[in-house]
């Protein structure tokens, strides 16, 4: 059996419940959201450590704020990561399942390490809530940062192994005919690629600090010097990290097989152009980080999204070498469940407006002030949830009665 026969025969016999390009779009979009949040978590951790080490008031205050970002961000990153984890299994199932099973031990270790990183992050946040310059400790942040780097390495390895189907068999079937079931394979580390995912952490965190500075600049109880300090720091950090990320991108480009001609890929070219444009824009914003924060953030996310599209194009190129294309995956379209998702997705955006407004307004108010929100917003959000429940439960009762399974 050759590799093309294997990967194509391992597609799920049920086929896809909708057209592959939709899953592919959702995969890229949700991965872009996930990796942006991951970058923020990684960057916040190391910036927090640095700021504590500087031993000044502004640094400590920023480090405490980033401690909260680290813990909240990690939760959000994990939840956002569920979506690409789901969609990758739908369209790239033969690659995902093979690589993960070959490295089963490491896949499970990833969970252990990320859990420890999470608690170390909480250790840093809760442990320093009331600390002053002399008593602030970085040990838990160092542990969290180290563990986050380990998780990055593990996920990178699992991703890379999916791109190496031609080597899979050699890894576990030995020349004497024995087969390994240990699940301990660890292959494919490409530091150029890994760095291209890690260095943007500081660029994303830098832009986040610009946003932070813009957000708090009008709050009366926030020291203007502190807010400016954060904005300046963010802009400079975003600039230098973007330059370095571009460098790492070219390193990664050098690692891609030349016969892919990826340097001529339109998505890569667009991503590279946006990367340079974003860097130039941040460079021009150094002295006005607060005014430029929102366009910088939009440009940064746009660049990340296009780079994720380019990464997807590269994955397709790798997999085409193994005779695999998602576009000829058999489809058994299931419209009712597709409508359920998209209707819920739209409802979700509507509902999320409520916590977004609450968080935004509460954060803008000075300490001790209670913000009064428009009661309609919350009521509509909760009503939408109850409405969803009534519709789905009603549907369920009808289907159950029709199928004779209710009683």
């Amino acid at each position: 059996m050759d590799i093309a026969t294997y990967v194509n025969s391992m597609r799920d016999p049920a086929g896809l419940p909708f057209y592959p390009i939709i899953f592919q779009f959702l995969l890229v979009l949700t991965f872009a959201m996930h990796i942006t949040m991951v970058n923020l978590v990684v960057g916040s951790t190391f910036v927090a450590i640095w700021e504590v080490w500087k031993k000044n008031e502004h640094g400590l205050r920023l480090a405490k704020a980033l401690g909260r970002v680290l813990t909240v961000g990690m939760s959000i990153a994990i939840v956002l990561g569920v979506a690409p984890l789901l969609f990758v299994q739908v369209i790239y199932d033969p690659f995902w399942y093979t690589a993960t099973t070959l490295s089963a031990f490491w896949a499970l270790m990833f969970l252990v390490v990320i859990t420890l990183a999470f608690y170390a992050g909480y250790g840093f946040y809760l442990g320093n809530r009331n600390a002053d310059i002399d008593s602030a400790k970085t040990v838990w942040a160092l542990v969290a940062g180290g563990l986050l780097l380990v998780t990055a390495l593990l996920i990178h390895m699992l991703s890379m192994e999916q791109l190496m189907p031609q080597h899979w068999k050699d890894w576990i079937v030995s020349a004497n005919g024995s087969v390994s079931y240990a699940g301990g394979e660890f292959h494919g580390i490409a530091f150029g690629r890994l760095l291209h995912f890690l260095l943007p952490s500081f660029a994303v965190t830098g832009v986040f600090l610009m946003l932070y500075s813009a957000y708090f600049k009008d709050r009366e109880d926030y020291d203007k010097a502190y807010v400016n300090y954060v904005g300046q720091k963010g802009a400079w950090m975003a600039l230098w990290a973007s330059v370095l990320a571009i460098g790492a991108g070219f390193w990664w480009l050098g690692l891609i097989p030349s016969d892919f001609h990826f340097v001529r890929n339109p998505l890569f070219l667009l991503g590279a152009a946006m990367g340079v444009a974003t860097t130039a824009f941040i460079g021009s914003s150094i002295f006005k980080p607060q005014e430029r924060a929102i366009p910088a953030a939009l440009l940064m996310f746009g660049t990340i999204f296009v780079m994720c599209c380019a990464r997807e194009a590269l994955r397709m190129k790798h997999m085409s070498q193994a005779g695999y294309s998602i576009y000829n995956y058999p489809v058994n379209a299931d419209w009712p469940s597709t409508i359920l998702f998209f209707a819920t997705f739209i409802m979700g955006l509507f509902v999320l407006y409520f916590p977004a407004v609450a968080a935004f307004q509460a954060g803008r108010a000075k300490a001790g002030q209670v913000v009064t929100l428009d009661p309609c917003i919350g009521r509509k959000a909760v009503s939408a949830m109850i409405g969803w429940f009534v519709i789905v439960a009603g549907l369920g009762i009808i289907v159950s009665i029709k199928n004779g399974v209710l009683f």
Partner: protein, 442 residues
């Protein structure tokens, strides 16, 4: 077939079971806790008793640190564990229920947004809006349970899906509603346990007693309702599942139910005696003990749910060894056993030596090793001192004197109501028998 991952002595299935059991406490707490939290917060505002808000703050922090670390990671953990232990099983679920999971994900995002905003805006936004935020979280969390229960129930009873292949026909199946109500009652009970433990740490003795009692009432109500719904659930089990349990085809299922029922009784007793009668007895120590009892009870309950599915991992569709059991015409799915019987199982393995010479004993053993790992290793430990259904010990019960004896056993495997049939041609059977005979001699 995908590569096989072996966990010596314990099987990869146990890894999933452990993570799943570990996941249930935080995830049911996450779904149930906020109904109680909102109840307390509403009371605080209505009766103008700000002292109750200390509980709200502490309880929410517990949910953040416990549910959104352990709960969310162990949830992802089940996926990872299922991926490495039973890739075709999880793939089968995902390719039918991807939109269900994606819909659940929308509610996860609402949950995480609303709980952080709830925790960090207590006292910073007006009371009505803050309560609404609590309601938003409570609904989002419970709806995520409404969705995942459909997929879990589908694994046990696939309903009309085998005929129509329709998402909702499989989702709203025979065991869906009773399982949903049982889990809902159970989530209130778990919320009650944690609420009582958190309440026991409050400074104000009057508030402490009052909230422990309230948590006790919630817990008892949840448990009493749970008994009723669990009885409905057991009544609605597929006939095949009932036979495995009630006819004592698999006696361990009866033991698991008894352990589960005993744990249930202990927790109920704790609610009545400690929470309702002597709230002073609720503390960290008794809390940890009752959580351990809960953990054991959940583990037994989950073991029961897994056990009554045998021989399937997805009812009627996929066997525990990840081989497709039957045709599903609506999805253009073909049963694989006849294919493997005709063409041979080995031929369908990619991760195998290129050449296998059946006349060479070493090659035959190597082929047998592969077949046995793929077809038996998901559920059976293959080691001499294996802890989970160890094949060497089970086969020794039949006192085989030659590989041919085992070959006969393999031929009749499908006659056991809890075992999938052997899938393969004569050569596969011979290779598997030789290998199995060798492990009984180790």
């Amino acid at each position: 077939m995908y590569p096989f991952w072996e966990v010596p002595f314990f099987t990869s299935g146990l890894v999933i079971a452990l993570i799943a059991t570990f996941h249930i406490l935080p995830c049911h707490l996450a779904t149930g806790a906020f109904w109680f939290t909102v109840y307390v917060e509403r009371k605080a505002y209505k009766q103008n008793r700000p002292e109750l808000l200390e509980f709200v703050k502490k309880y929410s922090l517990l949910i953040l640190i416990f549910c959104f670390v352990i709960g969310s990671l162990s949830g992802v953990g089940i996926w990872y564990a299922a991926t490495v232990a039973s890739p075709r099983g999880i793939s089968g679920l995902i390719h039918n229920y991807v939109w269900g999971w994606a819909t659940e994900w929308v509610f996860f995002v609402i949950e995480i947004a609303s709980i952080y905003v709830y925790y960090y805006t207590l006292g910073k936004i007006d009371q009505k809006s803050h309560l609404m935020m609590g309601w938003l979280y409570a609904w989002a969390a419970w709806i995520s349970m409404i969705i995942i229960t459909g997929i879990l129930a589908f694994m046990l009873s696939s309903g009309k899906w085998v005929e129509t292949g329709g998402f909702f026909d499989g989702f709203f199946n025979e065991t869906y509603w009773p399982q949903l109500f049982t889990r809902t009652a159970f989530m209130l009970c778990i919320a009650g346990v944690y609420a009582a433990i958190v309440a026991s740490t409050l400074q104000n003795p009057q508030v402490r007693r009052e909230l422990i009692r309230s948590a006790g009432i919630w817990g008892v109500a949840g448990m009493v309702a749970g008994v009723v719904f669990a009885a409905w659930y057991l009544h609605k089990l597929p006939v095949h599942a009932k036979e495995l349990w009630l006819d004592e085809t698999l006696p361990y299922l009866g033991h698991l139910i008894k352990i589960s029922a005993f744990s249930y009784g202990v927790v109920l007793l704790w609610f009545v005696v400690c929470c309702l009668m002597w709230p002073r007895m609720v503390g960290r120590l008794s809390g940890i003990i009752v959580l351990l009892v809960l953990f054991i009870g959940i583990g037994a309950g989950e073991g029961f749910r897994e056990g009554i599915r045998r021989p399937y991992i997805i009812d009627q569709y996929l066997y525990g060894n990840q081989i497709v059991a039957r045709d599903i015409p609506a999805k253009h799915i073909k049963a694989e056993v006849p294919v493997f019987n005709e063409q041979g199982f080995l031929k369908h393995l990619f991760f195998r030596p290129d050449k296998i010479d059946p006349s060479n004993w070493r090659d035959l053993m190597s082929a047998g090793n592969l077949i046995v790992h793929h077809q038996c290793g998901n559920c059976h430990a293959l080691d001499r001192f294996g802890k989970i259904r160890p094949l060497p010990d089970l086969l020794a019960n039949f006192s085989p004197e030659s590989p041919e004896d085992i070959e006969g056993l393999l031929e009749s495997l499908g006659d056991y109501p809890f075992m999938p049939p052997f899938a393969g041609n004569d050569l596969d059977k011979k290779a598997a028998s030789e290998y199995l005979f060798s492990i009984t001699r180790r």
